[in-house]
Amino acid sequence: MTTSQSVLTQNLAEHKYALAVSIILLVIPVFTRDYYILSVLVFANIYAIFGASWDILGGITGIFSFGQVLFFGVAAYMSAGLNLFFGLPPIVTIPVGGAFGVLVGLVAAIPSLRLKGPYFAIISLVFPGILAGVIYMYPAITGGDAGLYGLTPISADIIVTYYASTILALASILLLVRLVSSRIGLIFKSIRDDEDTAEASGINTTRYKFLSFAISGFFAGIAGGFQAHQLMSISPFVFNTSYSFTAILSASLGGVGTIFGSLAGAYLTAFLNESLRSLVQFRVLISAIVMILVFRFLPEGLIRRITRRYNFRFGTWSAVKKLKREKIDATNS
Protein backbone atom coordinates (compact mmCIF):
# COMPACT_ATOMS: atom_id res chain seq x y z
CA MET A 1 0.00 0.00 0.00
CA THR A 2 2.94 2.32 -0.25
CA THR A 3 3.05 2.98 -3.98
CA SER A 4 2.03 6.48 -4.94
CA GLN A 5 -0.82 5.17 -7.05
CA SER A 6 -2.59 3.29 -4.30
CA VAL A 7 -2.08 6.27 -2.01
CA LEU A 8 -3.74 8.36 -4.68
CA THR A 9 -6.81 6.14 -4.95
CA GLN A 10 -7.00 6.09 -1.19
CA ASN A 11 -6.85 9.87 -1.11
CA LEU A 12 -9.64 10.06 -3.67
CA ALA A 13 -11.84 7.86 -1.55
CA GLU A 14 -10.96 9.90 1.51
CA HIS A 15 -11.73 13.18 -0.24
CA LYS A 16 -15.24 11.94 -0.81
CA TYR A 17 -15.55 11.21 2.89
CA ALA A 18 -14.07 14.63 3.56
CA LEU A 19 -16.71 16.35 1.47
CA ALA A 20 -19.51 14.31 3.01
CA VAL A 21 -18.26 14.97 6.55
CA SER A 22 -17.89 18.69 5.89
CA ILE A 23 -21.45 18.96 4.62
CA ILE A 24 -22.80 17.00 7.58
CA LEU A 25 -20.91 19.19 10.04
CA LEU A 26 -22.11 22.37 8.39
CA VAL A 27 -25.80 21.40 8.43
CA ILE A 28 -25.91 20.05 12.00
CA PRO A 29 -27.28 23.32 13.46
CA VAL A 30 -30.26 23.02 11.11
CA PHE A 31 -31.36 19.96 13.07
CA THR A 32 -30.37 20.82 16.57
CA ARG A 33 -29.79 24.07 18.38
CA ASP A 34 -29.25 22.38 21.67
CA TYR A 35 -26.58 24.28 23.61
CA TYR A 36 -25.14 21.16 25.18
CA ILE A 37 -24.77 19.14 21.98
CA LEU A 38 -23.27 22.04 20.07
CA SER A 39 -20.77 22.85 22.80
CA VAL A 40 -19.61 19.21 22.82
CA LEU A 41 -19.11 19.48 19.06
CA VAL A 42 -17.15 22.71 19.53
CA PHE A 43 -14.75 20.80 21.76
CA ALA A 44 -14.59 18.01 19.19
CA ASN A 45 -13.52 20.59 16.61
CA ILE A 46 -10.83 21.91 18.94
CA TYR A 47 -9.54 18.38 19.56
CA ALA A 48 -9.52 17.83 15.80
CA ILE A 49 -7.14 20.74 15.24
CA PHE A 50 -5.08 19.69 18.25
CA GLY A 51 -4.93 16.06 17.06
CA ALA A 52 -3.99 17.08 13.53
CA SER A 53 -1.23 19.28 14.92
CA TRP A 54 0.17 16.25 16.72
CA ASP A 55 -0.22 14.13 13.62
CA ILE A 56 1.85 16.45 11.41
CA LEU A 57 4.76 16.02 13.83
CA GLY A 58 4.26 12.46 15.05
CA GLY A 59 2.48 10.76 12.20
CA ILE A 60 3.93 12.55 9.19
CA THR A 61 7.41 13.69 10.24
CA GLY A 62 7.91 10.81 12.65
CA ILE A 63 8.85 12.87 15.71
CA PHE A 64 6.74 11.42 18.52
CA SER A 65 6.02 14.15 21.01
CA PHE A 66 4.54 13.33 24.38
CA GLY A 67 4.20 16.96 25.30
CA GLN A 68 1.98 18.46 22.63
CA VAL A 69 0.27 20.44 25.42
CA LEU A 70 3.38 22.58 25.55
CA PHE A 71 2.33 24.48 22.40
CA PHE A 72 -1.34 24.28 23.29
CA GLY A 73 -0.85 25.54 26.83
CA VAL A 74 1.58 28.36 26.07
CA ALA A 75 -0.70 29.65 23.32
CA ALA A 76 -3.74 29.37 25.58
CA TYR A 77 -2.00 31.38 28.31
CA MET A 78 -0.81 33.97 25.78
CA SER A 79 -4.29 34.37 24.32
CA ALA A 80 -5.75 34.63 27.80
CA GLY A 81 -3.18 37.19 28.88
CA LEU A 82 -3.61 39.37 25.77
CA ASN A 83 -7.36 39.23 26.20
CA LEU A 84 -7.40 39.99 29.92
CA PHE A 85 -4.62 42.54 30.21
CA PHE A 86 -4.84 44.30 26.85
CA GLY A 87 -8.50 43.74 26.05
CA LEU A 88 -7.83 42.31 22.60
CA PRO A 89 -10.73 40.37 21.02
CA PRO A 90 -10.51 36.60 20.36
CA ILE A 91 -10.09 37.16 16.62
CA VAL A 92 -6.73 38.77 17.39
CA THR A 93 -5.62 36.73 20.40
CA ILE A 94 -6.16 33.30 18.83
CA PRO A 95 -3.84 33.88 15.84
CA VAL A 96 -1.32 35.60 18.11
CA GLY A 97 -1.53 32.53 20.36
CA GLY A 98 -0.84 30.46 17.26
CA ALA A 99 2.22 32.63 16.57
CA PHE A 100 3.47 31.93 20.09
CA GLY A 101 2.85 28.25 19.37
CA VAL A 102 5.20 28.61 16.39
CA LEU A 103 7.80 30.24 18.63
CA VAL A 104 7.59 27.46 21.23
CA GLY A 105 7.65 24.91 18.43
CA LEU A 106 10.86 26.37 17.05
CA VAL A 107 12.46 26.27 20.50
CA ALA A 108 11.28 22.69 21.05
CA ALA A 109 12.75 21.76 17.68
CA ILE A 110 16.28 22.53 18.85
CA PRO A 111 16.67 19.54 21.19
CA SER A 112 14.88 17.29 18.69
CA LEU A 113 17.70 17.83 16.21
CA ARG A 114 20.24 16.14 18.44
CA LEU A 115 17.96 13.70 20.17
CA LYS A 116 16.60 10.60 18.56
CA GLY A 117 13.28 8.94 19.41
CA PRO A 118 13.34 7.95 23.07
CA TYR A 119 15.57 10.79 24.23
CA PHE A 120 13.22 13.30 22.69
CA ALA A 121 10.31 11.44 24.28
CA ILE A 122 11.87 12.03 27.70
CA ILE A 123 12.40 15.73 27.04
CA SER A 124 8.92 16.26 25.62
CA LEU A 125 7.41 14.48 28.61
CA VAL A 126 9.22 16.68 31.12
CA PHE A 127 8.95 20.10 29.47
CA PRO A 128 5.24 20.85 30.05
CA GLY A 129 5.78 20.04 33.73
CA ILE A 130 8.57 22.60 33.97
CA LEU A 131 6.32 25.20 32.36
CA ALA A 132 3.52 24.40 34.77
CA GLY A 133 6.07 24.97 37.54
CA VAL A 134 6.91 28.39 36.11
CA ILE A 135 3.21 29.23 36.13
CA TYR A 136 2.93 28.25 39.79
CA MET A 137 5.94 30.44 40.55
CA TYR A 138 4.37 33.68 39.29
CA PRO A 139 0.79 33.64 40.54
CA ALA A 140 0.56 37.43 40.24
CA ILE A 141 0.60 37.28 36.43
CA THR A 142 -0.54 33.74 35.70
CA GLY A 143 -3.16 33.33 38.39
CA GLY A 144 -1.20 30.39 39.82
CA ASP A 145 -3.19 27.32 40.71
CA ALA A 146 -6.58 28.94 40.16
CA GLY A 147 -5.62 30.13 36.69
CA LEU A 148 -7.05 33.04 34.76
CA TYR A 149 -10.75 33.54 34.20
CA GLY A 150 -13.20 36.02 32.79
CA LEU A 151 -12.01 35.79 29.19
CA THR A 152 -14.15 37.10 26.37
CA PRO A 153 -16.16 34.21 24.92
CA ILE A 154 -15.91 33.50 21.19
CA SER A 155 -19.53 34.55 20.84
CA ALA A 156 -22.56 34.72 23.06
CA ASP A 157 -24.45 32.63 20.53
CA ILE A 158 -23.47 28.95 20.53
CA ILE A 159 -24.39 28.59 16.85
CA VAL A 160 -21.90 31.28 15.86
CA THR A 161 -19.28 29.62 18.04
CA TYR A 162 -20.09 26.27 16.48
CA TYR A 163 -19.67 27.60 12.96
CA ALA A 164 -16.48 29.43 13.88
CA SER A 165 -14.98 26.25 15.31
CA THR A 166 -16.20 24.03 12.48
CA ILE A 167 -14.88 26.29 9.77
CA LEU A 168 -11.60 26.70 11.63
CA ALA A 169 -11.25 22.94 12.06
CA LEU A 170 -12.20 22.09 8.47
CA ALA A 171 -9.95 24.82 7.08
CA SER A 172 -7.01 23.75 9.25
CA ILE A 173 -7.39 20.12 8.37
CA LEU A 174 -7.87 20.67 4.65
CA LEU A 175 -4.84 22.97 4.67
CA LEU A 176 -2.79 20.32 6.45
CA VAL A 177 -4.02 17.58 4.11
CA ARG A 178 -2.99 19.70 1.13
CA LEU A 179 0.36 20.36 2.76
CA VAL A 180 0.94 16.68 3.39
CA SER A 181 0.20 15.74 -0.20
CA SER A 182 2.52 18.51 -1.44
CA ARG A 183 6.27 18.34 -1.89
CA ILE A 184 6.82 19.51 1.68
CA GLY A 185 4.69 16.65 2.97
CA LEU A 186 6.67 14.21 0.90
CA ILE A 187 9.88 15.52 2.46
CA PHE A 188 8.36 15.23 5.96
CA LYS A 189 7.49 11.62 5.23
CA SER A 190 10.94 10.92 3.87
CA ILE A 191 12.39 12.18 7.17
CA ARG A 192 10.03 9.85 9.01
CA ASP A 193 10.84 6.82 6.89
CA ASP A 194 14.60 7.20 6.70
CA GLU A 195 16.29 10.35 7.85
CA ASP A 196 19.76 9.38 6.71
CA THR A 197 18.59 8.62 3.19
CA ALA A 198 16.62 11.85 3.08
CA GLU A 199 19.73 13.74 4.06
CA ALA A 200 21.81 11.83 1.54
CA SER A 201 19.42 12.85 -1.24
CA GLY A 202 20.17 16.46 -0.53
CA ILE A 203 17.31 17.41 1.75
CA ASN A 204 18.11 19.89 4.49
CA THR A 205 16.37 17.83 7.17
CA THR A 206 17.12 20.39 9.88
CA ARG A 207 15.17 23.09 8.05
CA TYR A 208 12.21 20.79 7.42
CA LYS A 209 12.12 19.62 11.02
CA PHE A 210 11.93 23.24 12.13
CA LEU A 211 9.14 23.77 9.61
CA SER A 212 7.25 20.75 10.90
CA PHE A 213 7.55 21.95 14.48
CA ALA A 214 6.45 25.43 13.49
CA ILE A 215 3.35 24.13 11.68
CA SER A 216 2.52 21.77 14.53
CA GLY A 217 3.01 24.54 17.07
CA PHE A 218 0.82 26.95 15.12
CA PHE A 219 -2.19 24.64 14.89
CA ALA A 220 -1.83 23.41 18.48
CA GLY A 221 -1.63 27.07 19.47
CA ILE A 222 -4.81 27.98 17.61
CA ALA A 223 -6.59 25.09 19.28
CA GLY A 224 -5.29 26.23 22.68
CA GLY A 225 -6.39 29.83 22.19
CA PHE A 226 -9.80 28.79 20.95
CA GLN A 227 -10.34 26.50 23.90
CA ALA A 228 -9.26 29.18 26.39
CA HIS A 229 -11.85 31.58 24.97
CA GLN A 230 -14.51 28.91 24.75
CA LEU A 231 -14.02 27.91 28.39
CA MET A 232 -13.47 31.58 29.30
CA SER A 233 -10.75 30.40 31.68
CA ILE A 234 -7.38 28.73 31.74
CA SER A 235 -5.60 26.77 34.45
CA PRO A 236 -2.21 25.03 34.77
CA PHE A 237 -4.09 21.76 34.27
CA VAL A 238 -3.64 22.30 30.50
CA PHE A 239 -0.02 21.24 30.96
CA ASN A 240 -1.06 17.84 32.31
CA THR A 241 0.25 14.79 30.45
CA SER A 242 -3.27 13.40 30.16
CA TYR A 243 -4.12 16.47 28.09
CA SER A 244 -1.45 15.57 25.54
CA PHE A 245 -3.23 12.28 25.35
CA THR A 246 -6.32 14.00 23.99
CA ALA A 247 -4.34 14.99 20.92
CA ILE A 248 -2.66 11.63 20.53
CA LEU A 249 -5.95 9.81 21.07
CA SER A 250 -7.75 11.91 18.46
CA ALA A 251 -5.01 11.33 15.92
CA SER A 252 -4.58 7.65 16.65
CA LEU A 253 -8.28 6.74 16.67
CA GLY A 254 -8.56 8.25 13.21
CA GLY A 255 -5.32 6.70 12.05
CA VAL A 256 -1.85 8.08 12.68
CA GLY A 257 -0.43 9.88 9.66
CA THR A 258 -3.74 10.55 7.92
CA ILE A 259 -4.43 14.09 9.25
CA PHE A 260 -8.03 13.85 8.16
CA GLY A 261 -8.52 10.98 10.57
CA SER A 262 -7.99 13.41 13.44
CA LEU A 263 -11.38 14.94 12.74
CA ALA A 264 -13.18 11.64 13.07
CA GLY A 265 -10.98 10.64 15.99
CA ALA A 266 -11.69 13.93 17.74
CA TYR A 267 -15.44 13.45 17.45
CA LEU A 268 -15.06 9.97 18.93
CA THR A 269 -12.84 11.35 21.71
CA ALA A 270 -15.29 14.12 22.51
CA PHE A 271 -18.14 11.63 22.49
CA LEU A 272 -16.17 9.34 24.79
CA ASN A 273 -15.37 12.21 27.16
CA GLU A 274 -18.98 13.36 27.28
CA SER A 275 -20.49 9.92 27.73
CA LEU A 276 -18.22 9.56 30.76
CA ARG A 277 -19.31 12.87 32.24
CA SER A 278 -21.16 11.15 35.06
CA LEU A 279 -18.18 8.84 35.55
CA VAL A 280 -15.49 11.50 35.66
CA GLN A 281 -13.20 9.29 37.71
CA PHE A 282 -13.01 6.79 34.85
CA ARG A 283 -12.26 9.30 32.12
CA VAL A 284 -8.46 9.22 32.08
CA LEU A 285 -8.52 5.50 32.78
CA ILE A 286 -10.72 4.70 29.80
CA SER A 287 -8.98 7.01 27.37
CA ALA A 288 -5.64 5.47 28.35
CA ILE A 289 -7.07 1.97 27.83
CA VAL A 290 -8.51 2.96 24.45
CA MET A 291 -5.16 4.38 23.46
CA ILE A 292 -3.30 1.20 24.38
CA LEU A 293 -5.82 -0.89 22.45
CA VAL A 294 -5.52 1.32 19.38
CA PHE A 295 -1.72 1.36 19.34
CA ARG A 296 -1.41 -2.30 20.12
CA PHE A 297 -4.18 -3.81 18.00
CA LEU A 298 -5.28 -1.17 15.48
CA PRO A 299 -2.15 0.64 14.37
CA GLU A 300 -4.00 1.99 11.33
CA GLY A 301 -6.69 3.54 13.53
CA LEU A 302 -10.29 2.62 14.22
CA ILE A 303 -11.85 4.87 11.58
CA ARG A 304 -9.49 3.81 8.86
CA ARG A 305 -10.11 0.18 9.66
CA ILE A 306 -13.85 0.70 9.33
CA THR A 307 -13.66 2.68 6.09
CA ARG A 308 -11.36 0.13 4.57
CA ARG A 309 -13.66 -2.67 5.58
CA TYR A 310 -16.52 -0.78 3.96
CA ASN A 311 -14.60 -0.41 0.71
CA PHE A 312 -13.75 -4.05 0.79
CA ARG A 313 -17.28 -5.26 1.30
CA PHE A 314 -19.38 -3.00 -0.81
CA GLY A 315 -16.90 -2.09 -3.48
CA THR A 316 -15.70 1.42 -4.24
CA TRP A 317 -17.65 4.10 -5.97
CA SER A 318 -17.24 2.65 -9.42
CA ALA A 319 -16.40 -0.76 -10.75
CA VAL A 320 -13.47 0.59 -12.75
CA LYS A 321 -11.84 2.01 -9.66
CA LYS A 322 -12.35 -1.25 -7.86
CA LEU A 323 -10.65 -3.15 -10.64
CA LYS A 324 -7.79 -0.67 -10.61
CA ARG A 325 -7.37 -1.04 -6.88
CA GLU A 326 -7.35 -4.82 -7.05
CA LYS A 327 -4.71 -4.66 -9.72
CA ILE A 328 -2.56 -2.35 -7.63
CA ASP A 329 -3.00 -4.50 -4.55
CA ALA A 330 -2.08 -7.56 -6.55
CA THR A 331 1.11 -5.96 -7.80
CA ASN A 332 1.94 -4.81 -4.30
CA SER A 333 1.57 -8.14 -2.64
Partner: protein
Protein backbone atom coordinates in the same frame (compact mmCIF):
# COMPACT_ATOMS: atom_id res chain seq x y z
CA UNK B 1 25.02 20.37 57.54
CA UNK B 2 27.56 18.63 55.30
CA UNK B 3 26.91 15.39 57.16
CA UNK B 4 23.20 15.80 56.61
CA UNK B 5 23.67 16.44 52.92
CA UNK B 6 25.94 13.42 52.52
CA UNK B 7 23.69 11.04 54.39
CA UNK B 8 20.42 12.10 52.79
CA UNK B 9 22.06 12.18 49.37
CA UNK B 10 23.35 8.64 49.84
CA UNK B 11 19.85 7.45 50.67
CA UNK B 12 18.17 9.28 47.82
CA UNK B 13 20.92 8.01 45.57
CA UNK B 14 20.14 4.48 46.72
CA UNK B 15 16.53 4.89 45.62
CA UNK B 16 17.55 6.38 42.28
CA UNK B 17 20.08 3.60 41.76
CA UNK B 18 17.54 0.87 42.38
CA UNK B 19 14.88 2.43 40.16
CA UNK B 20 17.11 3.63 37.36
CA UNK B 21 18.91 0.28 37.20
CA UNK B 22 15.60 -1.47 36.59
CA UNK B 23 14.70 1.08 33.96
CA UNK B 24 18.12 1.08 32.29
CA UNK B 25 18.32 -2.69 32.25
CA UNK B 26 15.21 -3.12 30.13
CA UNK B 27 16.11 -0.10 28.01
CA UNK B 28 19.56 -1.46 27.31
CA UNK B 29 18.58 -5.05 26.64
CA UNK B 30 15.20 -4.73 24.93
CA UNK B 31 15.57 -1.11 23.66
CA UNK B 32 12.25 -0.27 25.28
CA UNK B 33 11.51 2.75 27.39
CA UNK B 34 9.32 1.43 30.14
CA UNK B 35 7.59 4.57 31.38
CA UNK B 36 5.46 2.34 33.60
CA UNK B 37 8.51 1.51 35.74
CA UNK B 38 7.66 4.18 38.29
CA UNK B 39 4.09 2.95 38.30
CA UNK B 40 5.25 -0.59 39.08
CA UNK B 41 7.17 0.79 42.06
CA UNK B 42 4.06 2.60 43.27
CA UNK B 43 1.77 -0.37 42.67
CA UNK B 44 4.12 -2.65 44.64
CA UNK B 45 3.96 -0.28 47.58
CA UNK B 46 0.15 -0.21 47.46
CA UNK B 47 0.01 -4.01 47.23
CA UNK B 48 2.16 -4.26 50.35
CA UNK B 49 -0.19 -1.81 52.07
CA UNK B 50 -3.17 -3.99 51.20
CA UNK B 51 -1.60 -7.29 52.17
CA UNK B 52 -0.32 -6.05 55.54
CA UNK B 53 -2.99 -8.04 57.39
CA UNK B 54 -1.14 -11.23 56.45
CA UNK B 55 1.92 -10.01 58.29
CA UNK B 56 4.71 -7.92 56.84
CA UNK B 57 6.92 -10.72 55.53
CA UNK B 58 4.26 -12.52 53.48
CA UNK B 59 2.87 -9.18 52.30
CA UNK B 60 6.27 -8.23 50.91
CA UNK B 61 6.88 -11.57 49.23
CA UNK B 62 3.41 -11.74 47.66
CA UNK B 63 3.55 -8.15 46.43
CA UNK B 64 6.99 -8.43 44.87
CA UNK B 65 5.98 -11.70 43.20
CA UNK B 66 2.81 -10.06 41.89
CA UNK B 67 4.77 -7.15 40.45
CA UNK B 68 7.07 -9.55 38.64
CA UNK B 69 4.05 -11.37 37.20
CA UNK B 70 2.39 -8.11 36.20
CA UNK B 71 5.52 -6.83 34.48
CA UNK B 72 5.86 -10.11 32.59
CA UNK B 73 2.23 -10.02 31.49
CA UNK B 74 2.59 -6.41 30.40
CA UNK B 75 5.68 -7.29 28.43
CA UNK B 76 4.12 -10.32 26.80
CA UNK B 77 0.80 -8.68 25.91
CA UNK B 78 1.57 -5.04 25.27
CA UNK B 79 5.18 -4.04 25.00
CA UNK B 80 6.93 -7.04 23.47
CA UNK B 81 4.89 -7.08 20.25
CA UNK B 82 5.64 -3.38 19.78
CA UNK B 83 9.36 -3.77 20.43
CA UNK B 84 10.31 -2.76 16.90
CA UNK B 85 8.42 0.52 17.20
CA UNK B 86 10.05 2.22 20.13
CA UNK B 87 7.92 5.38 20.12
CA UNK B 88 4.64 3.45 20.13
CA UNK B 89 5.97 1.14 22.84
CA UNK B 90 6.94 4.12 24.98
CA UNK B 91 3.51 5.65 24.45
CA UNK B 92 1.80 2.42 25.49
CA UNK B 93 3.84 2.20 28.70
CA UNK B 94 3.04 5.83 29.48
CA UNK B 95 -0.66 5.12 29.00
CA UNK B 96 -0.20 2.11 31.27
CA UNK B 97 1.31 4.33 33.95
CA UNK B 98 -1.77 6.54 33.76
CA UNK B 99 -4.02 3.47 33.96
CA UNK B 100 -2.22 2.32 37.10
CA UNK B 101 -2.49 5.83 38.56
CA UNK B 102 -6.23 5.95 37.94
CA UNK B 103 -6.69 2.35 39.08
CA UNK B 104 -4.89 3.09 42.35
CA UNK B 105 -7.09 6.16 42.81
CA UNK B 106 -10.21 4.02 42.36
CA UNK B 107 -9.12 1.12 44.55
CA UNK B 108 -7.19 2.82 47.34
CA UNK B 109 -8.56 6.34 47.13
CA UNK B 110 -6.69 9.57 46.43
CA UNK B 111 -5.57 10.25 50.01
CA UNK B 112 -2.12 9.58 51.42
CA UNK B 113 -1.17 6.14 52.68
CA UNK B 114 1.97 4.85 54.32
CA UNK B 115 3.54 1.46 54.86
CA UNK B 116 5.53 0.52 57.95
CA UNK B 117 9.31 0.32 58.24
CA UNK B 118 10.92 -3.05 57.76
CA UNK B 119 13.10 -2.27 60.80
CA UNK B 120 12.22 0.45 63.31
CA UNK B 121 14.45 2.56 65.49
CA UNK B 122 17.28 4.97 64.71
CA UNK B 123 21.02 5.26 64.97
CA UNK B 124 23.30 8.26 65.25
CA UNK B 125 26.03 8.68 62.64
CA UNK B 126 28.41 11.65 62.71
CA UNK B 127 26.00 13.42 65.01
CA UNK B 128 23.06 12.98 62.66
CA UNK B 129 20.10 10.91 63.77
CA UNK B 130 19.22 8.47 61.01
CA UNK B 131 16.21 6.18 60.99
CA UNK B 132 17.49 2.62 60.74
CA UNK B 133 15.13 1.98 57.83
CA UNK B 134 17.12 4.44 55.73
CA UNK B 135 20.33 2.56 56.36
CA UNK B 136 18.60 -0.73 55.65
CA UNK B 137 17.29 0.73 52.41
CA UNK B 138 20.72 2.00 51.36
CA UNK B 139 22.26 -1.34 52.27
CA UNK B 140 19.56 -3.26 50.37
CA UNK B 141 20.07 -1.04 47.37
CA UNK B 142 23.81 -1.70 47.37
CA UNK B 143 23.24 -5.43 47.74
CA UNK B 144 20.74 -5.47 44.84
CA UNK B 145 23.03 -3.47 42.60
CA UNK B 146 26.00 -5.67 43.45
CA UNK B 147 23.87 -8.78 42.91
CA UNK B 148 22.79 -7.53 39.50
CA UNK B 149 26.36 -6.76 38.49
CA UNK B 150 27.54 -10.20 39.61
CA UNK B 151 24.65 -11.81 37.74
CA UNK B 152 25.45 -10.00 34.53
CA UNK B 153 29.20 -10.40 34.84
CA UNK B 154 29.58 -13.98 35.97
CA UNK B 155 26.58 -16.14 35.10
CA UNK B 156 25.78 -17.69 31.79
CA UNK B 157 22.37 -15.94 31.61
CA UNK B 158 24.16 -12.72 32.40
CA UNK B 159 26.48 -13.30 29.50
CA UNK B 160 23.48 -13.93 27.24
CA UNK B 161 21.95 -10.69 28.49
CA UNK B 162 25.10 -8.80 27.61
CA UNK B 163 25.15 -10.41 24.17
CA UNK B 164 21.55 -9.36 23.51
CA UNK B 165 22.39 -5.85 24.70
CA UNK B 166 25.22 -5.61 22.21
CA UNK B 167 23.50 -7.03 19.17
CA UNK B 168 20.19 -8.86 19.09
CA UNK B 169 20.62 -10.40 15.65
CA UNK B 170 24.06 -11.80 16.32
CA UNK B 171 22.96 -13.07 19.72
CA UNK B 172 20.17 -14.95 17.97
CA UNK B 173 22.65 -16.32 15.43
CA UNK B 174 24.90 -17.84 18.09
CA UNK B 175 21.93 -19.68 19.55
CA UNK B 176 20.79 -17.47 22.41
CA UNK B 177 17.06 -17.66 23.07
CA UNK B 178 16.46 -13.95 22.80
CA UNK B 179 12.84 -13.96 23.91
CA UNK B 180 13.75 -15.84 27.10
CA UNK B 181 16.51 -13.37 27.82
CA UNK B 182 14.08 -10.50 27.33
CA UNK B 183 11.53 -12.10 29.66
CA UNK B 184 14.18 -12.70 32.33
CA UNK B 185 15.32 -9.09 31.98
CA UNK B 186 11.78 -7.84 32.35
CA UNK B 187 11.32 -10.03 35.44
CA UNK B 188 14.49 -8.64 37.00
CA UNK B 189 13.36 -5.13 36.16
CA UNK B 190 10.04 -5.81 37.91
CA UNK B 191 11.86 -7.36 40.86
CA UNK B 192 13.99 -4.22 41.25
CA UNK B 193 10.88 -2.02 41.19
CA UNK B 194 9.28 -4.25 43.83
CA UNK B 195 12.36 -4.21 46.05
CA UNK B 196 12.59 -0.45 45.74
CA UNK B 197 9.03 -0.30 47.05
CA UNK B 198 9.81 -2.64 49.95
CA UNK B 199 12.74 -0.61 51.21
CA UNK B 200 12.14 2.95 50.06
CA UNK B 201 8.35 3.36 50.00
CA UNK B 202 8.12 3.35 53.84
CA UNK B 203 10.35 6.43 53.85
CA UNK B 204 7.79 8.61 52.10
CA UNK B 205 4.02 8.88 51.92
CA UNK B 206 2.16 7.08 49.17
CA UNK B 207 -0.19 8.82 46.79
CA UNK B 208 -1.55 7.81 43.37
CA UNK B 209 0.84 10.23 41.67
CA UNK B 210 3.89 8.64 43.29
CA UNK B 211 4.79 7.10 39.90
CA UNK B 212 6.04 10.50 38.74
CA UNK B 213 9.22 9.62 40.65
CA UNK B 214 9.95 8.47 37.11
CA UNK B 215 10.38 12.07 36.01
CA UNK B 216 12.62 12.64 39.00
CA UNK B 217 15.08 10.00 37.90
CA UNK B 218 15.07 10.92 34.20
CA UNK B 219 18.12 13.17 34.75
CA UNK B 220 19.90 10.18 36.28
CA UNK B 221 19.18 8.01 33.26
CA UNK B 222 20.19 10.70 30.81
CA UNK B 223 23.36 11.63 32.67
CA UNK B 224 24.34 7.98 33.04
CA UNK B 225 23.56 7.21 29.44
CA UNK B 226 20.46 5.33 28.30
CA UNK B 227 20.86 1.64 28.92
CA UNK B 228 24.17 1.94 30.74
CA UNK B 229 24.11 0.25 34.15
CA UNK B 230 27.43 1.61 35.38
CA UNK B 231 26.44 5.07 34.23
CA UNK B 232 23.06 5.04 35.99
CA UNK B 233 24.78 3.81 39.13
CA UNK B 234 27.23 6.70 39.30
CA UNK B 235 24.72 9.27 38.03
CA UNK B 236 22.21 8.23 40.74
CA UNK B 237 24.48 9.32 43.54
CA UNK B 238 25.75 12.33 41.62
CA UNK B 239 22.26 13.66 40.92
CA UNK B 240 21.09 12.84 44.45
CA UNK B 241 24.06 14.74 45.86
CA UNK B 242 23.35 17.77 43.65
CA UNK B 243 19.66 17.72 44.57
CA UNK B 244 20.31 17.51 48.27
CA UNK B 245 22.98 20.22 48.13
CA UNK B 246 20.54 22.53 46.41
CA UNK B 247 17.80 21.60 48.86
CA UNK B 248 19.89 22.22 51.96
CA UNK B 249 21.79 25.31 50.82
CA UNK B 250 19.26 27.22 48.71
CA UNK B 251 16.10 25.35 49.56
CA UNK B 252 12.91 24.73 47.68
CA UNK B 253 11.60 21.48 46.26
CA UNK B 254 10.78 22.92 42.87
CA UNK B 255 14.19 24.52 42.41
CA UNK B 256 15.91 21.23 43.11
CA UNK B 257 13.96 19.65 40.25
CA UNK B 258 14.71 22.55 37.94
CA UNK B 259 18.43 22.29 38.60
CA UNK B 260 18.53 18.60 37.72
CA UNK B 261 16.35 19.16 34.65
CA UNK B 262 18.73 21.86 33.48
CA UNK B 263 21.61 19.44 34.00
CA UNK B 264 19.69 16.89 31.97
CA UNK B 265 19.09 19.39 29.18
CA UNK B 266 22.75 20.40 29.06
CA UNK B 267 23.86 16.77 28.99
CA UNK B 268 21.39 16.01 26.22
CA UNK B 269 22.58 18.90 24.11
CA UNK B 270 26.30 18.52 24.74
CA UNK B 271 26.74 14.76 25.05
CA UNK B 272 23.46 12.94 24.41
CA UNK B 273 24.99 9.55 25.14
CA UNK B 274 25.61 10.57 28.75
CA UNK B 275 28.65 9.69 30.82
CA UNK B 276 29.01 6.08 29.80
CA UNK B 277 26.25 5.42 27.31
CA UNK B 278 26.81 3.93 23.95
CA UNK B 279 24.28 5.16 21.43
CA UNK B 280 22.28 1.96 21.88
CA UNK B 281 19.05 3.38 20.64
CA UNK B 282 20.43 4.32 17.24
CA UNK B 283 22.12 1.16 16.19
CA UNK B 284 19.07 -0.55 14.73
Amino acid sequence: MIEEIVISALILGGLYALLSLGFSLITGVARIMNFAHGAFYMLAAYLIYSALSWGQGPAIIVSVALIIVISLVVYKLLVGPLREKEAEAALVTLALALIIQEGVKLIWGPDYKSIPYVITGYVTIMGVRVVTQKLVALFASIVCVAGLFLFIRFTKSGKATRAVTQNIEVARLVGINVSTVLMVTMAISGLLAGLAAVFFAPLSVLSPTEWTVLFQFFPVIVLGGLGSLKGSMIASFLIAFIEKTVEFTIGGGFLMQTVTFVIMLVVLLVKPTGLFGKPVMRER
